[in-house]
């Protein structure tokens, strides 16, 4: 261990960690990618060779220290390698969102001054070429996928493969230079630059140093006992800090394998095939999975449906206790003691199965005696007849029975069988959804983080997991709450600066290193868990001075599978109103089952019965909001169902799918007006942007309906005071 410790100290950059991993895990798989229907894999040694060759290829193109290399593409080993190779050359990798339209891309490329761009495929190259006249620094474009690229002008363009070949050919020439540049890297050199999605205004380039990434990765890997045996599926946008931490930071530190799906569409199949042990997904993915399961269960046969219902109900209380995977230190050979334990459990299991059968047979016999004709109707298992086993043991075996019949097959179908640690973050997750996965025995936890913090601010330790908190401060992170409720943090992962933007840096990070998150929250008494209410600047006052926290209500609404997105208005107004976006999958399926015909999203959204359903949801939310003494003013009085989905291409959401309130307030000003002036319908025209950048318009007449407002529990109390 002593020499490992020394290596640990010296590994102050990603390339150094890579070298360490080659030494330590040389022949273990480091990267896998499914291509041509087969999982191709690279060991650490092979990957390191490729990365080295790529770095030398970069040198042959003339990459200098401090250059920025933009990387635009889907998750592929080659792109991860390009990021590490860039660091080897002393350059800074800048991953960009691949679904960004050319305009957004142009801004970022110009702002970071990238001289080199690595594109995934023709589509991305096209975008770069399209905006080339507006960006001044680009010298060379590289692409991974050669398809369709033959006809392009290759004077300033190359396939990445050719660059690697070039690097291999120039091996002797560049070897020394690479060694020198890698040796120059230390904890303070820049590791990566990531652009924030920009909920407000232009995206900002967050500079993260090696210290930020490596320290954070080490701490978080130790927190969840991540080791070289983990498998992760890299499917989240490469430009997002989370993917960088999971697929590069933690993967390098812990030495685990990064698996890249074949294409974004095959993600679910690939998830099943890989069966990751460590998994991150935004709540949306978990919601979609659950919705799909529920829809398919609706169509399942009676037996399956019944079993599913019974055991899912049962798992709700017991999953936490019996289902969770436990972290165990690996032991090489089973000891005699453990063999005995297995034998004991096995015989107990058989005994339990036998007892259950006997029990049911006895019960059925009794019921048959009493009701010979219609005994089926009366045959219900309620409570044990024979109490041979104590209750906790019965629960355990019941859960195991459920595991064999429902939970394990279901987890297998979802590709979550091997999950040891799963995280969700970014948005609040619905308590039912959260509970569903937890009760299946999937260790789904929440974390709270930011690009500026290299992800981790707080996270939930095993065994202290709840839907409504985001956990305790991560190791090495200090968190404090300002007077106005805003959350501040300071950690080794705190970003260095915003690139070329000292004003923003100064306004976000103070001299002592405290960073404002922009979120309002509080620590729960007793448990020490942090709870986040809303964006600090979105938390406002209503006209009568009551607290207005739109996100709080929106999240409650979004927990209904039929509601995809909700936007609540009410700051400085006397009452709250809302826009609702229906979820086409869920509502479409519901419509099918209820024989409601529709031709388009717009028609379905405007259907009276859909309105009826949404109103019921809102009424329920109102009732629950009314219970909260602080936020009871946020009940929704009037609402409308939008005729189009809120979309990042139209600027209504960020690329990470967060609602942009100002844009929506401006764009749909007429609709908001109608919500408050009492009209029952409004005609509107909305401009939409298609994926290829063309624009069109949607015309619609929207109905506005009233919701029922529940009486506020505390209003009387105030009056009484």
């Amino acid at each position: 261990m002593a020499d490992h410790g020394a290596a640990e100290q010296s590994a102050q950059s990603i390339p150094a960690l890579l070298a360490r991993n080659v030494e330590r895990f040389g022949s273990r798989p480091a990267y896998r990618e499914k291509e041509f229907g087969i999982w191709q894999s690279w060991t650490w040694a092979e990957a390191a060779d490729e990365i080295r060759a790529m770095a030398m290829g970069f040198l042959s193109l003339g990459v200098e220290r401090g250059d920025h290399i933009a990387i635009i593409g889907r998750n592929r080993p080659a792109h991860y390698w390009a990021m590490v190779a860039a660091q080897m050359c002393g350059a800074v990798p800048v991953p960009l969102y691949q679904d960004a339209v050319a305009e957004e891309m142009a801004y970022v490329l110009e702002h970071c001054g990238a001289r080199f761009v690595v594109c995934g495929d023709q589509e991305q190259v096209d975008k770069v070429v399209e905006v080339e006249d507006r960006i001044h620094h680009i010298q060379h474009v590289m692409y991974t996928d050669k398809r369709g690229m033959r006809k392009y002008d290759h004077s300033r363009m190359n396939a990445l493969d050719d660059i690697i070949a070039e690097g291999k050919a120039g091996h002797f020439r560049y070897e020394g230079e690479i060694e020198k540049r890698v040796a120059e890297l230390n904890y303070d050199s820049t590791c990566v630059m990531l652009y924030t999605s920009g909920t407000t205004g232009k995206p900002k380039g967050v500079v993260l140093s090696n210290r930020n990434i490596i320290e954070t990765a080490k701490n978080s890997a130790a927190f969840d006992h991540l080791g070289p045996d983990e498998d992760v599926l890299a499917y989240l946008p490469m430009a997002w800090v989370g993917d960088f931490i999971f697929s590069i930071g933690q993967a390098m530190v812990a030495g685990f394998c990064v698996n890249c799906p074949e294409s974004p569409e095959t993600m679910m199949t690939d998830l099943r095939e890989i069966g990751p042990t460590y998994f991150f997904a935004p709540p949306r993915i978990f919601e979609t999975m659950l919705t799909n399961v529920m829809i398919r269960m609706e169509d399942a046969g009676d037996l399956k449906h019944g079993l599913f219902k019974h055991f899912m109900e049962y798992a709700k209380g017991t999953g936490e206790e019996f289902g969770m995977p436990r972290y165990r230190v690996k032991r090489s050979k089973p000891t005699l003691r453990r063999r005995f334990r297995w034998a004991y459990r096995f015989s107990m299991g058989i005994g339990f199965a036998f007892e259950t059968m006997v029990e049911n047979a006895v019960r059925l016999a009794i019921v048959r005696l009493r009701h010979p004709m219609e005994h089926r109707k009366y045959f219900k298992a309620k409570g044990p007849l024979l109490n041979i086993y104590p209750q906790p043991l019965r629960d355990y075996f019941n859960y195991r029975t459920g595991d064999v019949t429902i939970y394990a097959p279901l987890k297998n179908t979802l590709g979550l069988s091997r999950i040891r640690v799963a995280y969700t973050a970014g948005e609040a997750i619905g308590p039912e959804i959260f509970e569903f996965y937890r009760s299946l025995g999937i260790n789904l936890k929440q974390l709270y983080g930011q690009t500026e913090a290299s992800v981790f601010i707080t996270q939930q330790p095993d065994g202290q997991v709840r839907a409504d908190t985001v956990g305790v401060p991560s190791p090495g992170v200090e968190v404090k709450i300002a007077e106005n409720g805003e959350v501040f943090y300071r950690s080794p992962g705190t970003f260095v600066e915003y690139y070329n933007n000292p004003e923003s840096t100064a306004s976000t990070k103070d001299a002592e290193g405290w960073v404002a998150t922009g979120d309002a929250g509080f620590f729960e008494e007793g448990t020490g868990h942090l709870r986040i209410i809303d964006r600090a600047k979105d938390v406002g006052k209503m006209a009568d001075g009551r607290l207005f926290a739109p996100k709080y209500v929106e999240n409650k609404l979004k927990f209904y599978p039929n509601i995809l997105e909700a936007v609540v208005f009410g700051a400085d107004r006397d009452r709250c109103t809302a826009f609702i976006n229906i979820d086409l999958t869920a509502v479409g399926n519901w419509a099918e089952r209820n024989n409601i015909a529709y031709a388009s999203y717009q028609e379905l959204a405007g259907h009276p019965r859909v309105y009826e359903m949404i109103r019921e949801h809102i009424n329920e939310v109102n009732a629950s909001v009314a219970q909260d003494p602080m936020l009871s003013g946020c009940q929704i009085h009037r609402f409308l169902v939008l005729h189009k989905e809120l979309d990042a291409d139209d600027g209504e959401m960020t690329r990470t799918r967060k609602v942009r309130r100002n844009v929506i307030a401006e764009k749909f000003a007429d609709l908001i007006g109608a919500l408050y002036d009492g009209s029952t319908s409004i005609y509107t025209e909305t401009e939409v942007t298609y994926e290829d950048g063309r624009k069109g318009a949607i015309k619609a007449t929207l109905r506005i309906e009233d919701a029922t407002v529940a009486p506020e529990a505390h209003a009387h109390r105030e009056a009484a005071e």
Binding site: F36, G37, R147, G148, R150, K151, E262, S263, T266, T269
Partner: protein, 272 residues
Amino acid sequence: MKDMVEGYTTPDGRQIGGVLMELKNITLRFGGVVAIKDISFDIREGEIRAIIGPNGAGKSSMLNVISGFYVPTEGEVWFHGQKRPAMRPYQVARLGIARTFQNIALFDGMSVLDNIMTGRLTLMKSGLLSQAMWWGSAAAEENEHREKVEKIIDFLEIQNIRKTPVGRLPYGLKKRVELARALAAEPKILLLDEPMAGMNVEEKEDMCRFILDVNDEFGTTTVLIEHDMGVVMDLSDRVVVMDYGRKIGDGPPDEVRNNQDVIDAYLGVAHD
């Protein structure tokens, strides 16, 4: 015969080779009905050749003549500089001519992968028995074919439906699977019968891109029938225009577009 060696260069810089197939004075009669009346044209190596014309002009019949499904009543088909005798369709397929159909002809119950594998039937060497027993060279051979098929799946971006039964796919994707199957046969001439019929704009654009990419990547000679004039004019290198079984125009898209006969045929002029 000097046409055989001479080629031409397309406006976008592709080099088109010599004549691959030549149709000489083709006439096709069904009883008293004359479907094709004395038509001659050639197909050159590496080009995208379109056949257009109003409904009932005899386009599909022409394609069937090329594919060998119909034997012309009069006239000759020259392929690779040799006169092609009357053949059964499977023999023609072995010569390297693959096609897609106007109304999709896939095996609905089979997966996309299996459907595409059937395209390689003519290239398989091992016999029925050894394939059924999965014995001898059959296993190795299938791996080889599977690899080729996977390349095509990757090329046409249908990885996510690899294992889906074709019957469950939407129309646009079925068309793409059909193209994949035709490509799997590694054809010298690819015949596409209305590849874009009934598609929406986005699917059409995708299909256009694939046809161009196929031509670019594999250098496959493509003959296509299409109604959408915009598509035809963008895609093809040379166009044959048919009307009432006769050829009324032949040449590059720009030339054809300005041909008075073609304009008449499409806009409708009283025929004598």
